[in-house]
């Protein structure tokens, strides 16, 4: 990633959470917790029972999901390289204002 001009300090308001639908891909590898999917001996592959080779297949699947999320989000946080570009946090702050009660009683 190029180091352009440093972005302004982002997000002084809102709850600081950013929604990105690509992040949902991170849930896919959790399928691996459903043991019933692969708790079988056959078919075997290279002599390995299904239980083992199926779980090995989840390794590239996990890499694929995390890799896609990385590629789609690597330009975060928003860099204001173009001067007229509104930062995501400014766009967020209106919607986030309603959710701000959290922490407000802390001060």
């Amino acid at each position: 990633m190029s180091t352009g001009s440093p972005p302004p300090r982002a997000g002084h308001s809102g709850n600081g959470l950013r929604w990105n639908a690509w992040n949902l891909l991170l849930l896919v590898p959790l399928l691996m917790l459903a043991t019933a999917l692969y708790n079988e001996d056959r078919p075997r592959l290279f002599g390995l029972p299904f239980f083992y080779w199926c779980q090995f297949l989840f390794v590239p699947l996990g890499v694929l999901c995390v890799g896609l999320v990385y590629l789609r989000t690597r330009d975060e946080p928003v860099r204001t390289d173009r001067p007229d570009r509104l930062s995501v946090d400014d766009l967020d702050s209106a919607g986030a204002a309603g959710r701000r009660q959290d922490g407000s009683d802390a001060r």
């Binding site: 959470l17 896919v28 691996m32 390995l48 890499v63 999901c65 959290d102």
Partner: protein
């Protein structure tokens, strides 16, 4: 002494000497102005790029103990031991986003430990102390277990003496480690990790493709393993899971994945990296080690097929199942290759042991020494204190192995995984929300710790002849709420840590609801929402080595 395996010892010693030199030279590697600051000694200057981080974190998470214990578990119990694969596959998608937030907020405020962060987020030194103590207590037995891994190799090479003198080779190896960690800090394990991981990859790939071809292929190996498990008296073993242990398999994988980055030593590797994209790239690339771990696990079956038998540890007089992979290598490979394999495991013990002792030393220095003993400590005094603490931690681990039964460390490690999970609400959930009340988190922690401990205490292991701390699988029928057994009769098993975490969260939520209703002060938060997105080059970052 038994018969010494000279070829193995020569190869092993040569490689060991190489990493010793690297360890001392590391102090000058990309050095900052001075090592007298925790950012430099304890975090390597916070400037590690993608490659270094990959080797460092990989060398840190996939420890020597993992490499000997996972195949040993498969050797003994079969499919259940394979939980290590789902554990390390779901790990990265789960921690991907929280770790980025943790890195950013730590970089903006100069936090060195997870407890530093909690201190900043809730303004509570008590909660920070609880997190720090949990971290230190969970890490100590983990360091001791690295010694178990190293010793399994040393004993297989023939250094299987009895009594305290039987531990002498281990003592020498650890003394060297302690000295170069003292001098070079995190840079030492970072540099050595290159050697360790390269050796490990070579050894495992050779073993996984060569051994099955020698022993008649995977088909034969699995059939022989199933025959062994069919013949054994234990009902829960086999090459597949059964009705009762599937939930244990899934919850153990999930619980372990949630716990791993709560360990202070895992976070140390992350905080030492220079930016968010370094972490993101590593979350994509680190599963290469998972593939390796999965292959290595299968060597447990190969050992069954090859009729390997674990060595008897002359110091305790019992068979030590952790020697199963070293024994297999020695049976099947020529001496020089066995030497390389043993060096891979042995050096594999040094890297995580060094990082863990640095992480524990950072916790001690930042969250106990500076917080309670010497509030005005200068950065140089902090660094000095941490260096000394790293020595104490390592010699504490040695004393543990030499004077206390190693089985005790294994029990403690089991407990460690359960208790570190209890810091999840304070350290991980708080990255997203301050909804949980400070005192709710404290109460939840107390309940989760206490109940987790009680449940572990009550689990017997008849096969090993133990009445307590016999494992991490709780049978539903034994689940007891003050004597009330809601699920009596059920044989289904679940991971203790998971049950304790659920209790922790429930209690924390209840207390939070009450305290919010009563409008009790919820600590002060020094972090700002934008802090959680800061990246390298951002002007809000705290200059390295400046607090």
């Amino acid at each position: 002494m038994n018969d010494l395996q000279w070829t193995e010892i020569v190869v092993f010693s040569a490689l060991f000497l190489l990493v010793t030199v690297l360890g001392f030279v590391a102090a000058r590697w990309r050095a900052g102005d001075s090592l007298d600051h925790l950012d430099e000694w304890g975090l390597g200057g916070r400037k590690f790029g993608s490659w270094i981080t990959w080797f460092l974190v990989g060398g840190d998470l996939y420890t020597a103990y993992t490499f000997v214990a996972v195949p040993a578990l498969i050797f003994g119990a079969g499919a259940m031991g394979f939980f290590a694969l789902p554990y390390t596959v779901i790990l990265y998608p789960i921690v991907f986003l929280p770790l980025l937030r943790m890195w950013s907020v730590s970089r903006v405020h100069g936090y060195v430990t997870p407890a530093d962060y909690v201190r900043g987020r809730y303004g509570s030194s008590l909660l920070a102390l609880l997190v720090a103590l949990t971290g230190i207590i969970a890490t100590m037995p983990y360091i001791a277990l690295q010694l178990v891994g190293l010793e399994a190799v040393l004993r297989t090479m023939g250094f299987n003496g009895s009594g305290v003198m039987g531990h002498a080779p281990l003592f020498i190896a650890f003394l060297i480690l302690a000295l170069y960690t003292y001098q070079s800090g995190l840079r030492a394990p970072a540099l050595i990790a290159f050697v360790k991981d390269t050796l490990i990859y070579i050894v495992i790939l050779v073993a996984v493709f060569y051994l099955p071809s020698k022993l008649g292929g995977w088909d034969t190996i699995f059939d022989q393993a199933q025959a062994k498990f069919d013949a054994s008296r234990t009902p829960s073993d086999g090459i597949l899971l059964n009705h009762n242990n599937q939930l244990q398999y899934a919850t153990l994988a999930l619980g372990s994945a949630l716990a791993l980055f709560l360990y202070p030593h895992s976070l140390t590797g992350i905080l030492a990296s220079k930016g968010r994209n370094v972490i993101k790239r590593n979350m994509v690339a680190l599963p290469a080690y998972s593939l390796l771990l999965g292959m290595l696990a299968l060597l447990g079956y190969v050992a069954i097929s090859a009729n390997s038998t674990p060595l008897t540890n002359q110091a305790t007089g019992r068979p030590d199942s952790n020697t199963i992979v070293p024994v297999l290598f020695e049976q099947q490979f020529p001496g020089w290759f066995t030497g390389i394999a043993f060096a891979a495991i042995g050096i594999g013990a040094l890297v995580p042991a060094a990082i863990m002792s640095i992480a524990a030393a950072n916790l001690w220095t930042r969250n106990i020494y500076k917080e309670y003993l010497r509030r005005d400590a200068s950065p140089a005094q902090e660094a000095k204190q941490a260096k000394l603490a790293s020595l104490v931690v390592k010699f504490g681990a040695i004393a543990f192995i030499v004077f206390v039964d190693p089985q005790f460390s294994i029990d403690l490690q089991l407990i460690g995984g359960v208790i570190i999970l209890q810091t999840l609400p304070a350290v991980a959930i708080s990255l997203y929300t301050r909804w949980f009340h400070l005192w709710g988190l404290v109460t939840g922690w107390v309940v989760g710790m206490a109940w987790g401990f009680v449940m572990l205490y009550g689990i017997p292991n008849p096969a090993a002849g133990k009445a307590h701390f016999g494992g991490s699988a709780l049978t539903f029928g034994e689940l007891s709420l003050f004597g009330w057994r809601p699920l009596a009769g059920s044989q289904v098993q679940i991971y203790v840590g998971f049950v304790a975490l659920v209790a922790n969260l429930l209690v924390a939520a209840l207390v939070t609801l009450v305290l919010r209703r009563m409008r009790v002060l919820n600590g002060t938060d020094e972090t700002r929402p934008g802090d959680y997105h800061a990246d390298e080059g951002d002007p809000s970052l705290k200059p390295v080595g400046s607090h």
